[in-house]
Symmetry: C2
Subunit: 211 residues, 2 copies
């Protein structure tokens, strides 16, 4: 006997979890955490209240899973992995901004950076949200610090100064994305990319050690 | 006969409006728009549902009033007026960051920039929110463009490039404040101030025309 679609769902808890996390990540990104109800999620996914609560007993547990399993991987995919894989820090940053600008231009609306969106909405409301969000920022900053250390300008700096420089790069991007979302266009991201690339050259972060 | 406190309130619609706007601005800043209910506002202000609805028929009308009458003036007080009044653009920006860092350090928690907080939460949800928020960014950007035009480096640029430079300054601040809120400390703001001040010198935005 072939299982009915409903039985398939019941027999596929990982598939159900994936569907709920995908829908929650989308709705949090589009409307925000507080504006999304568990009922919205049931409607978006077709998952019953019982099954939803089985996987995520509270909305908070769902948000923590979204941060760990959707937002953190998005930051890795968009920023951390390309920065690590790039032939140089400068090319990495230029490439990341170019990808983000293309993605923004290809869409009719700018929803912004999922990490920033959740950060501003949630860090004050709960210490677990705050540490989950901060962990993503720390991972992002560490990847930048590592690449900064490998540049001529970065090699001259101590760890604190490299961390400052990494925080600056993240700040520029985060703020430009806030403006891009407010204005619903990519102008601030383009301008940030160009100023940042100038800044990297000027600080000798654009020259790799041994290059 | 002396009026009772309650009668005073009834006879003082402006006072009531002020109290509601103050409480709404605080709650939106602390928790966000969606996490604040009209009931929370009634409890925070002691204003009745009827009186609240008389002044603000919808939560949206209240948020638009908060943006126009609390958030925009806060941006003017913190950024626009000091930048206009400063002896130079560079001193203005250094002074603004120093004030913000002191304010952040003096408090036990970092609630962030009220404009950024509402921007990320609201711009996608409603075109009226978006234009109200964008108007504040435009005013802020214009004040910076005007001061940039009066510097040696800025005088060489066309209006588009000056606008880019202004957007960059706002981006750096906004992003640094997002990190400050996520980490609950002022480190990213200090680092942004120092890098920005270096950038202003490097672009000759730190030299006023005729100086």
């Amino acid at each position: 006997m072939k299982p009915t679609p409903n039985r398939t769902r019941q027999n596929d808890p990982e598939g159900l979890r994936t569907r709920v996390l995908d829908a929650a990540a989308d709705l949090f990104q589009e409307r925000g955490y507080h504006a999304t109800s568990m009922k919205d999620l049931m409607q978006a996914t077709g998952v019953s209240g019982g099954a939803l609560h089985h996987h995520f007993p509270t909305k908070k547990s769902l948000a923590l899973a979204v941060i760990a399993d959707r937002v953190a991987p998005a930051v890795r995919r968009t920023w951390i992995d390309p920065i690590r894989a790039a032939p140089s820090l400068a090319k990495g940053i230029t490439g990341v901004f170019a990808e983000i600008v293309s993605a923004v231009d290809a869409r009719s609306r700018v929803a912004g950076c999922p990490l920033n969106n959740l950060a501003l909405e949630l860090v004050l409301s709960d210490p677990n949200f705050r540490s989950a969000i901060d962990a993503v920022f720390v991972e992002w900053q560490s990847a930048l610090v590592e690449r900064i250390a490998g540049t001529r300008g970065g090699a001259r700096l101590d760890r604190a100064k490299r961390t400052d420089a990494a925080a600056f790069i993240i700040s520029v991007y985060s703020g430009a994305m806030t403006l891009a979302k407010s204005k619903q266009n990519s102008l601030s991201l383009r301008s940030a990319a160009s100023v940042l690339s100038h800044w990297l050259r000027e600080r000798e972060f654009a020259v790799e050690l041994g290059a």
